[in-house]
Symmetry: none
Subunit: 224 residues, 4 copies
DNA sequence: TATGAATGAGAATTCATTCAT
DNA sequence: GATGAATGAATTCTCATTCAT
């Protein structure tokens, strides 16, 4: 079936097909046979190039991570204007998730499997994810300029902006049903980016009042 | 010979075992045989009571949704004190996710499958999820009292508080690795609840400045 | 294909088919599919009853050993006439090998695999092989009567009579070619039983001169 | 670039690796890939030099036979002293088996396959195996000198001495387990060579009483 | 003389599911 | 209400072998 004798091409075709398959069906649901045929190759070649279904899955994870890292590296923010930079970072993250549903799906899947596979990948750990460093510099400058409040935790801010974008997309099916809205309509998406931005900016603003309260106050609401 | 009590018990045992299995392995990864043996029953009984793997999966989804709905119904918030009520709702949601990892996992899984199964469940749609109504009243009262800003969108507020809690837990494996922190340590969890609360409260406060900006301003940051 | 719902029968048919297949092709060469079809069953049933190809192989080994043990148990020798008893034992062993080529083949195969599988069988070790005890009593009585020489080692005698029968049959293909004789012709077989008998009897006779010689005498013949 | 020396070397390395592989795993169990990698070559080269797995196997068989034939040719027995010569021949055979486990394993394997491959080798038949001729002369001289009995069958004597050595080694795994002895200990091996010698010498001695008895006498012992 | 890429057939094993009782 | 026996269709993976260079 495969017409070319170009190893790199074959490998790349398999990898791409695998990405789609793992996104659509998860690790267990994915079928080696479907990958090979949609990649215009053969099962045999998958084992030739990747060794096993799991190794292929890991290769997909690595490629997906590497792409995100590369995109982050290409970010050029004007750090002298922290608020604008933060907005850009939020928008970048949101759009990345929006335009890379396979990234979202693969990450969710990997978490469902408790990070089992990613733990086996020596490569992923080494991949550079510059975003935390970038965000740290932005927040620092913002604090210096007095436009952000002091004592911000980079990780918390990152989690916030990531969570707001990711969750909306990763859980869109159950959410759409629950909220009775099609979350993927263009306007809905744009509105949500605005909302994310609003929430994050508000949370880092100097005038944001502390939300904590004395530890001894206990809710009466039970959870189960 | 066997009374209907036994039958109910068998059914319940299977359902519980299935919940664990689907949580741990997802729909495709789950094995009927594992469910029957961990539920001290037989494959045959699963078909006797539920008809198919998929029907069992849907039954699990429904039970999990029903439990959340029931817990929400038991919520008793003092709606005359909107800020406190909102705090309680946030804490409730967070703790529910924290204490019901199977809920989080099953929801994520269902979304990975694009809501395929939930769409087939007539039951789930009918299940009452009172949380939106509750939140709506809280926000309304807060606006009336002037402690929340006007024009809040209940859905957005709900998405925000849900996202912040859910994402932290659903993606904890990849996040722990990326942030180089064990997110599940008790202090980390408590700190995150505080952070969620802070963020949400800030986002509904009247003094939260608008984050929007003219639509025509475009980021130069590219996403891919 | 399988007509009956009789579990024991199905199991037995599979086991029998497996015996033939493993005899003819060895462990690696044996095909699960061939076993299931020649046993008028299905691959699936093999896994249902035995769990794996290896477990099936071990079950075959065990059954084959058990049968030999049972046959030995049925031996009724007149121990008061040691020479006749020994003749009978020799003939029994020879005929057992001759009439149970699958025993010979399976044993050879297992030895080629360095006893890998038999080591995993807790059952085989426990199987009673009464032959050594029987032979011991025969030799003892023979020594007492003075028809056998003293100081015989039961194991050595057993090895001798077993080796002479087993080797002739197990290696008949290469031997036939090398000796340019069809070893399996009836007369050839009968002549060989006579020869085995002669050799063994001669080796236990009191007038058999010691064959040993001083250790310091070294052969000049080299082996490689 | 590569000289024919290299070619010979490559061929030889493959052949050696194949010998080990076929010894350890038999024909079916042997893997072309394992041979090529343990022979520091490639699958492709095996096909280049030998054409097929089976042809390689036959080449191995031939080489192994040729080596035995060569070793037999180097035998220098003092035929004027028949007893000593016979002892030497026995010791030679035993030691050859002991020191060439691959010969034993390959022969057993070939017999398990019913001589299928050896039949395809025109080469093997032509290989000289001088041992029978040597033994014939030794026995003849012994008869002439009166130290061996008359009417000996060279083939029977050869079978006896070969069987006693071969069986002990080829079946050592099941025998060790059955006899509850480690047959491969040095002392055990030396003792067994003594025993073989004793048995063979006794069987050819003039005073060995005939073991045969009237044909019409039938054993009562059954074999199955 | 050598090699990496490719292949088709078939290997063991597993799956959800149904039959007969 | 329950069970052991049976099944067909897949599933992952492996094998010896050949192609193109």
């Amino acid at each position: 079936m495969a017409s070319s004798r170009d190893a790199d091409l074959t490998r790349a075709r398999i990898l791409k097909a695998a990405r789609g398959e793992f996104m659509r069906h998860g690790y267990s649901g994915a079928r080696v046979g479907r990958i090979s045929s949609s990649g215009r190759s053969s099962d045999r070649m998958i084992y030739y190039y990747f060794g096993s279904k799991e190794a292929l899955y890991i290769a997909v994870l690595e490629s997906v991570y590497a792409e995100l890292g590369a995109a982050e590296s290409r970010l050029e923010l004007d750090e002298s204007r922290p608020v604008e930079a933060l907005r850009s970072l939020i928008a970048f993250t949101w759009r990345y998730y929006l335009e890379h549903p396979e990234f979202v799906a693969l990450l969710s899947n990997e978490n469902l499997q408790r990070g089992r596979h990613i733990a086996k990948s020596p490569g992923v750990a080494k991949l550079s994810r510059p975003v935390l460093g970038i965000l740290a510099r932005v927040l620092e400058e913002g604090e210096r300029q007095g436009v952000f409040r002091r004592g911000l935790d980079v990780r918390h801010v990152y989690l916030t902006l990531a969570a707001l974008g990711y969750f909306y997309l990763s859980n869109r099916y159950t959410l759409s049903s629950f909220l009775d809205r099609d979350l993927m309509r263009r306007e809905a998406c744009e509105a949500w980016l605005e909302e994310i931005t609003r929430v994050v900016i508000a949370s880092v603003s100097p005038d944001a009042r502390a939300a904590s309260r004395p530890r001894h106050v206990r809710d009466r609401a039970k959870t189960a």
